[in-house]
Amino acid sequence: MIQLFNVCKAYQRDQNALNDITLNIDKGEFVYLTGPSGAGKSTLLKLLYCAERPTRGQILVNGRNITRFGPSRIPYLRRNLGIIFQDFKLLTRRTVYENVAFPLEIQGRKRFEISKKVYHTLKSVGLEHRLNHHPLQLSGGEQQRVAVARALVVDPLILLADEPTGNLDPEVTLDIMELFKIANARGTTIVMATHDRSLIHQFPRRVVSLEAGSLATDDLPLFRGQPGTTGHF
């Protein structure tokens, strides 16, 4: 589903934010992306949704080489993705309802279908009573949950989640993880960047860890504690 071949990304000349990453994620996998602050997790995700271009290397998503996608093809790629941004990127002048409905409107879904799906998804993240609020009227955790709902509402092929639980208390975090597991069971491939080690302990899955832009470990849950190599496949 997602393949990276010798991918490098340098924002500035001599500083590689990502360093020769080769990685393969199969359809239906659930992968944690960890590593210290500034290791390159968000950069890796940005490459996958074409917000940044790799300096070197090739990236295949769903069998397509997205490395040279232009502005006309990027939107159609992103429609197959559910993305939770580290800084949420909500539309501040629209209500919670409109924010979550937006990706469905883009796809041209019918009005009643949209309202049903949006309500259902907002309820699953516990925000059905905040429908008509604007994002800036919500608490940090509530905003994050709106971002989660917006990513999940489209039943994405791939879910890219950048620290989706950083602003959530442990109980709500568990609820969100349940949602991810349900989506995963339905076939959605999930890549989730997180710092939360207790979460990884509670829901053990494959863990890819970065360190200063390089792949450090790539552990399947069965072999936890035993460092694997980059090429686990």
Binding site: Y49, C50, K89, T92, F102
Partner: protein, 301 residues
């Protein structure tokens, strides 16, 4: 896409309601810029009217050494009126010419006292049709009259006509230069204003590109919004200029205008009014289109 026109219109209206400051700022700017244009147009229009009435005075005078009987004169008048360039032909008798001369002298009229009306010749005064009021048409008419031999002594205000033509050309050239600059200024200002409103919303535009909006889907509501704002600006400008026209130009300056010899001034004709409003919408649309190029980006630079 056609079925969803309502969606984009609704979004545009909601956008405007949600940030009234931005909307009012750009509507106000368009209105002020277009009101300036309207005032300018009113001025040009009325000056043109004025110069047109000057042009009516443009004439050829054929002096008659001997005055034939009325029937002959009538024949000549008919003949000359048959020329394609000619509008009217008027016979001025010796008596009438002398009267006019005395009036023209004004306060000096006592100077011709004691002189008889026969010091001035009778004449035929020939005015040209509107389309033919220029130096070359005049020359044609004069040539033809001269060939006729009956009219030897022709008088026509060459120098004066040249001056009038130059003046009209000057008005037209400088008028369209200033007008063009005004349109350009309005366009720059409106485009700038809309660019700035989009600048204030660039987070929103970025967020929309990030969840899969196509360029057109994202841009359309802003284009509609720009066009609407331009349209409203145009309407406001029309209202504003009409108000100023009514209150200041017609009421307060009315008596002054009468004294200077301009009897009525006109507001913009309906077609121009329509153009002002439609033009506002167009400017808004173009302004948004231009500004959006810069702000809708899809990451991957």
């Amino acid at each position: 896409m056609i079925l969803r026109a309502g969606y984009f219109l609704k979004r545009a209206l909601r956008n405007m309601r949600q940030s009234p400051v931005l909307s009012l700022a750009s509507i106000g700017t368009v209105a002020v810029a277009l009101a300036l244009l309207a005032f300018f147009a009113i001025a040009v229009l009325n000056v043109q009217q004025l110069t047109k009435s000057w042009g009516e005075n443009l004439a050829v005078v054929a002096y008659l050494d001997d005055v034939p009987d009325e029937k002959t004169i009538d024949g000549w008048v008919k003949h000359i009126e048959g020329y394609p360039e000619v509008a009217t032909v008027t016979f001025v008798s010796r008596q009438a010419a002398f009267e006019r001369f005395r009036k023209r002298l004004g306060d000096d009229s006592d100077l011709v006292e004691g002189l008889g009306p026969d010091i001035l010749p009778a004449s035929l005064e020939i005015t040209l049709q509107e389309d033919w009021r220029n130096e070359s048409a005049l020359a044609t008419v004069v040539d033809r009259l001269r060939k006729d031999h009956r009219f030897g002594d022709l008088q026509y205000g060459q120098g004066w006509l040249e001056k009038l033509e130059a003046f009209l050309l000057l008005l037209r050239v400088s008028g369209s230069a200033l007008g063009g600059f005004l349109v350009f200024a309005a366009l720059v200002i409106v485009a700038n204003t809309i660019k700035l409103t989009l600048y204030a919303r660039q987070d929103e535009l970025e967020a929309m590109t990030m969840v899969g909006g196509t360029s057109l889907f994202i841009k359309l509501p802003y284009l509609v919004e720009g066009a609407l704002q331009g349209f409203m600006g145009g309407l406001t400008a029309l209202g504003l200029s009409f108000l100023v026209f009514q209150v200041i130009l017609q009421k307060s300056l009315g008596s002054l205008l009468l004294i200077t010899g301009i009897d009525t001034i006109h507001f913009l004709p309906p077609i121009w009014q329509g153009m002002l409003v439609v033009g506002g919408g167009l400017i808004g649309l173009l302004g948004s289109l231009f500004a959006l190029r810069k702000f809708v980006r899809f990451g991957a630079s």
